[in-house]
């Protein structure tokens, strides 16, 4: 009886250990994936522009995490900027790196009369990180990305 409970105790401990291991793995996995996705995104922008962008919270790219129809996926973005002559976003360039043609659209803004935000609808060929790259008037390149899972290929 005492032996049995000992066995049970051991297996419980094992179960707990395995469970803890799984939990730490699942917790760690998204941040690792996100870090390498950040590097991939930065590398892509370096290849395209020859400049190094900074991942930034000042650019917010809002898209549905899951969307059934790849032909018309809603996209909104906003750059945190006062839009004055001395401090404004010049443009926001949207890229879909896993589409057959990765350029989606570039939005050009004007200080004073404009606001650095817009919405549109885009096509996505497969699940991927969509990127929004903002160039500020001081030349800084700010980068945001968001994962979108589409069920159908919108580029066929």
């Amino acid at each position: 009886m005492g032996r049995e409970s000992g066995v049970i105790g051991l297996s419980r401990r094992r179960v707990l250990a395995v469970a803890a291991g799984c939990a730490s793995l699942t917790l760690a996995a998204p941040s690792v994936a996100s870090a390498s996705a950040d590097e991939d995104a930065v590398e892509l922008i370096e290849d395209l522009t020859g400049k190094t962008p900074t991942p930034s919270d000042r650019v917010r790219l809002v898209m549905p995490a899951v969307f059934s129809n790849g032909y018309t996926v809603p996209l909104s973005f906003e750059v945190d900027s006062p839009m004055t002559q001395t401090d404004h976003a010049k443009y926001v360039r949207v890229l879909a790196p896993r589409n057959p043609i990765i350029e989606v659209a570039t939005f050009h803004f004007t200080p004073e009369r404009g606001q650095a935000r817009a919405s549109t609808r885009i096509r996505l060929a497969e699940p991927q990180f969509v990127l929004a790259l903002a160039e500020m008037n001081d030349g800084a390149l700010l980068l945001a990305k968001t994962w979108v899972d589409v069920a159908t290929n919108g580029c066929k």
């Binding site: 659209a105 009369r113 404009g114 606001q115 935000r117 096509r123 066929k156």
Partner: protein, 108 residues
């Protein structure tokens, strides 16, 4: 082909300094050039490649569009009302087609 029909939604009046929303839509297939017809021949690319909004003659917002913008391209953007004047919307298509709309904005 039916001529692309552009539409915009803009307020008729705005207070000075107010930020207002503009919605602009054009009915257009945005043919990517990546598709084939029944005979296996590539369908040539024909997209709206540029959208421009002028406020009292000055470009205040523009978009360079590529193939990945959805058919019937739609944009919502925001402008600050500075003075009464015309808002002009221009869509440019591959091959030189141009579609325009104009709207008067009263700023009080």
């Amino acid at each position: 082909m039916v001529a692309p029909a552009p539409r915009v939604q803009v307020p008729a009046t705005a207070a000075r300094g107010e930020v207002f929303s503009v919605k602009a839509l054009i009915a257009h297939p945005m043919e990517t050039g990546l598709r084939q017809d029944d005979h296996g021949d590539a369908i040539p690319r024909k997209i709206i490649n540029r959208f421009v909004c002028r406020y009292s003659g000055v470009v205040v917002f523009s978009v360079d569009l590529h193939e990945s913008v959805a058919a019937n391209p739609f944009f919502e953007f925001h402008l600050r009302a500075t003075d009464s004047g015309s808002l002009e919307f221009i869509w440019e298509e591959d091959g030189g087609g141009v579609f325009r709309l104009e709207h008067q904005l009263e700023v009080g």
